[in-house]
Subunit: 456 residues, 2 copies
């Protein structure tokens, strides 16, 4: 019998705890600052937006944070997720490398996002919260929070970036199926949304604007809190179930990754696959190369500055130190909506500065070509975001071929593309452009980063 | 620890043979007749359309037909498929019944259809065929054959029913991702298509017309054959991997179904889950109730006649004895396109006559309500076709509640609804009508069934 195609874990082997990489950092994360005082914030500053349990996770330095049983019960609807050996892709590439991919598209929402949506909904419901607000770009996160909120009896209000709202009505239908309400952002439901619309009635929206709207509503009502799908420490930590399972599955396959590849937007799926492996290296264990793949049109890690910045466009969030293109930067309208964010998770940024990971950027045309090659070999049609990870993995496999090295490559296939077929249609029609950002706009955006006295 | 949510089989436990129910029939299937001579057809009559291996399977009475290793290799991309215990749905219904569902949406195409598309592509490629033609309604079958054909280097040409082609452009994009060509039917590529368009240029198409077009092209070219996604004996047999796996998984769950539920259009997913269990009963083993759920707008088993009829509208196919609404019957345009067929698989029809299964019909509104209830409890958004099975299972669970019986219900969740969200959108907007067929048209269609002297 040939080597297996997939490695499945019994649900009894679902991780019992998330891995918190803050326990293993050689230097702690730079403090998060209050946007008014520029002083480090405390738990009380975040309390209007998040339940105390999540705020505690945000700053915890405990290595293992127990996954509550009601969360594990829901994880079992799709977890542990399968690890695949990409036999057919390897043959198509004629590479001596072994390519493995962890597939997160098996979740009800079709991506890794429910891994954090479910615990976020759980902790909010446990704290007596009645309603959650959030933003969504491509729709993956909004779908996931709609699903998770419904399971815990929470009302969910999703601000969907206008351009996605119009392009992807089916994503909205999924959110409604799960019982959520979804409005286009900028909207008339918030003061900030109204101010944006007053300046430009046909504004296409951005993640930064949608975040401002969701935060504004949550800050106003005691029964309402806000949920973020990426960037924050606790969100990245929830995603580590991906890498923890992959470690068990790599052991089943009797090998260990030489290279780990993930796509990065805010950083959560990348952290999910990579942090458990990086943590092992930080503790003196085996070290793999770790490659973060980002879109050339929004190159936060490869072209951004490591500096304090706002998470949103309306400047309502605290300031965090991260790789950023500047909070006023508006990336061109390419299809990997989930990667269209001006900033990068502080933890990912910090680890980049510590030399624990590399970053590379590809155009969307290159990434779609990789995605189609993958689909024809392996069957699964990846989401445009995941195509970046596929492209990164294929490049590593081709390098192995050139170098004659039989390395083991592990990448995270963070979601399927079933709701993104309009983008594939454009790709086949030759209508997909590799839109470049405006260098002048980037320079202006970077030059208007907030000035932090302590940084001077 | 509570009872598991899902039962996974290792890929080493993928079935090694399909189950052929023809081995266990107390009376053989009525012969298939040549439409011209009205005499039983032989293998040579089918040779222009199908490779000899599939023709042999069509009439075989061997119980176990070995699954070729290249087919099993591809099955392993998603099989064995998971069996779920619907804990949350049971709680929502407050039923004493145990509800299990086999989930076929994990395949690359998102439904059970690749179970037969892969072996059909394999046997055609092995016979030297270069090109396959087929029809598709909702797009599930066209997607599956595109996927399978691509893996074996075959060109695939899909005739998609015009109304679906226009409503679901994303399905077409998936077919193109797998490398297939997809045209709207009726088309100008065939004489039959042109004749239909000449009568009615804006004809919305039907499965029967699309079959005629695909068959016409295949019959004309020696390097081209035809592939059908349901109805035929060999197609139903390929689907029995569903039920064979489910039997192992029910044993893992330490229970056995009292009731088995599936939705029926042509009959293939239903046969897949049910035939291995029915076969056990035919051999004198445990007998479960078996319930086929069909749409009220196309009630083949509950309102059709058991008679010889054509499989297509252009009357190019042989005559088979089956439950039929008449080959000229055009069902109203409801959303479960995969169930919109005038006939029923001869094997399913025969087993109905033998008293081995029951049939029930529901409106699409009832079925969407059931699908939404399911999605909110279990996470997965079912395809409109699969909603019929969900509705059937929920009705059985509610019966158990009324009767205070803790029965075990098994149903087949044949596919996800990711490409059908426009239908859910209409459902939420209250714009979904329960279109009824025209009783006069049904009577006319039934009265024009072909006359078979031997049946008189």
């Amino acid at each position: 019998m040939s080597e297996p195609t997939k490695y499945l874990l019994d649900e009894g082997r679902l991780p019992k705890a998330w891995y918190n990489i803050q326990a293993d950092l050689p230097q702690p994360l730079p403090a998060t600052l209050h946007p008014g005082t520029l002083q480090p914030i405390g738990p009380d500053d975040l309390a209007p937006l998040f339940p105390m349990e999540l705020i505690a996770q945000e700053v915890s330095t405990e290595r293992d944070i127990e996954i509550p049983e009601p969360v594990r019960e829901i994880y079992r609807l799709w977890r542990p997720a399968p690890l695949y050996r990409a036999h057919r892709l390897e043959r198509a590439l004629q590479t001596p490398a072994k390519i493995f991919y962890k597939y997160e598209g098996v979740s009800p929402a079709g991506s890794h996002k429910p891994n954090t949506a479910v615990p976020q909904a759980f902790y909010n419901a446990a704290a007596g919260v009645r309603r959650l607000t959030t933003e969504t770009g491509a729709g993956q996160w909004g779908t996931s929070l709609s699903f998770a909120g419904g399971l815990f009896g929470l009302e969910v209000l999703v601000f969907q970036v206008r351009v996605s709202y119009d392009q992807k009505p089916y994503r909205r239908a999924v959110m409604e199926t799960y019982g959520a309400r979804c409005v286009a952002s900028p909207s008339t439901e918030t003061a900030y949304g109204r101010s944006v619309l007053a300046q430009r009635p046909d504004h296409p929206g951005s993640l930064g604007i949608a975040i401002s709207e969701a935060v504004e509503l949550a800050a106003q009502r005691a029964d309402t809190k806000y949920a973020l799908g990426s960037v924050l420490n606790h969100v990245l930590m929830h995603q580590t179930v991906i890498g923890l399972e992959a470690m068990e599955q790599m052991a089943m396959a009797d090998t260990w990754p030489d290279v780990i590849v993930g796509c990065v937007g805010g950083g959560s799926n990348f952290a999910g696959i990579a942090f458990p492996f990086i943590g092992q290296a930080l503790r003196g264990g085996t070290r793999a190369r770790v490659v973060a793949v980002e879109p050339a049109a929004c190159p936060t890690l490869t072209r951004g500055r490591y500096a304090y910045d706002f998470g949103d466009t309306g400047h309502m969030t605290p300031l965090t130190k991260m790789h950023t293109l500047g909070s006023t930067f508006t990336p061109p309208g390419f299809h990997a909506g989930g990667l269209r964010y001006h900033g990068m998770a502080p933890l990912v940024s910090h680890l980049k500065e510590l030399g624990m990971l590399e970053a590379v950027a590809y155009t969307q045309g290159e990434c779609f070509a990789a995605g189609v090659q993958f689909a024809r070999a392996e069957g699964i049609v990846p989401a445009p975001e995941a195509n970046h990870a596929v492209k990164g993995a294929i490049e590593e496999a081709l390098r192995c071929k050139r170098e004659g090295r039989a390395e083991t490559i592990l990448f995270n296939l963070s979601g399927h593309g079933h709701f993104d077929m309009a983008a594939y249609q454009q790709y086949f029609a030759g209508a997909l452009t590799d839109e470049a950002y405006d260098e002048g706009e980037l320079a202006a955006s970077l030059s208007s980063l907030p000035r932090i006295p302590a940084e001077a």
